[in-house]
Symmetry: C2
Subunit: 236 residues, 2 copies
């Protein structure tokens, strides 16, 4: 681990005199709670000196507040396309950031693995591996110091630090409180009914395992049809 001043020095320079691996390595900091396995990040708690500088706009009822996450990174750091389960705002403090957003509808075009897209390079994606990615509509923009971006739950986002950057990310609950996993300091677990649905579906898959491969594959696709026809809004 690195003292904060040293981190700041390295994250803000392009070429390092001292480094762990190489002179051009990049740094990324995401604040955690005091006990990272239990507590949520909160600027007011972990950075009391900064807290008077952070004015959270009144976009949500304060009882819905979940966390405020201090973030810092070297120029050039790119965060892969992912979604969060909570509504949040990103307050850009220092540096310019490139933002690419995708609507939740485009989930089928993003080749997700967990909450992350497998398409790493959104600027020149490998369309032979990810042909449907070209159908995903990209919303592109830049954040400058002082800008605030509202990122609704489930909207995919891909961020590139065009400069050394500092930002504060504020998350809050939109759903009823009991919909959120109570043991989730990062706030990125799927809602409780979804976790339950996943477990139930695993039992359905267990039932299909009694069948030969060809049948299992076929009826798994038919299960997906069933799910789409009953729960999806925008399908044929």
């Amino acid at each position: 681990s690195l003292p904060f001043v040293e981190f700041l020095q390295r994250a803000s320079e392009d070429i390092h005199e001292k480094s762990f691996i190489d002179k051009t390595e990049k740094y990324y900091l995401r604040a955690l709670g005091d006990d990272p396995r239990k507590d949520v990040a909160n600027v007011a708690v972990q950075f009391p000196n900064l807290s008077s500088d952070v004015h959270i706009p009144k976009y949500f009822d304060s009882s819905k507040f979940f966390s405020s996450v201090f973030r810092m990174a070297s120029k050039g750091v790119q965060l892969w396309t992912h979604y969060d389960v909570m509504d949040n705002i990103l307050i850009q403090v220092i540096g310019r950031k490139k933002v690419v957003l995708f609507h939740p509808n485009d989930v089928d075009n993003l080749y997700m693995n967990g909450d992350k897209s497998q398409v790493l390079d959104v600027d020149s994606p490998d369309l032979s591996r990810f042909p449907k990615f070209s159908q995903a509509r990209q919303y592109r923009g830049y954040l400058e110091p002082g800008d605030i971006l509202f990122i609704p739950a489930l909207w995919f986002h891909n961020m590139t630090y065009e400069d050394f950057g500092v930002a504060v990310n504020v998350f809050w609950r939109h759903l009823e409180e009991n919909m959120y996993d109570s043991k989730d300091p990062y706030g990125n677990h799927d809602p409780v009914p979804v976790q339950r649905a996943n477990q139930i579906v695993d039992r359905a898959l267990k039932a299909l395992e009694e069948l030969p491969d060809v049948y299992r594959d076929f009826y798994a696709r038919r299960l997906c049809d069933r799910i789409r026809s009953k729960a999806c809004i925008r399908d044929l």
Copy 2:
């Protein structure tokens, strides 16, 4: 209802002197069991006079036999694209029949509703409504009197009677006997583990109903991803 000789007369002619609705109406007969709600169709039982004419090739162990279905139809009758749950052979006795087959893999391109494709006209499909149908590979052929076609379980088939036609369809069980619904005289219910999986999935959908529409839609798609990644062979 119509006496058999009268049916035969009408099904074999193009223009009818007597008819129910109009002079060009078409006829279709699919033999049933003695008690159609309980018994399976069996040529040897319902048509004992014909049974010595029906020689079933030794393609399966006789203990696996399920039914033998006598079929008859007017020229021009077309049966919509569907699949059966059991392996079967189609023995063409009289008349020429056009057959279009699709591999079970193409299920996602056939716009299924239950066991039937919504694409009724496979010769000139409405590709604006059914764009993915163009990706489905068609296997086309003709059956002449004396021809026998093996139709494996889950293979889609679309049949057109190009002449007045008579055929016998023989179904047998490929899976363990307990995989088949015991109350299914037509032999077209999905296998028992699939029925169970459907019921289980309905409970998963019930869990998702606790969420707002946008979340439900989103996570229903993610459930499909989960199913495909765990049970499907041919997906990304």
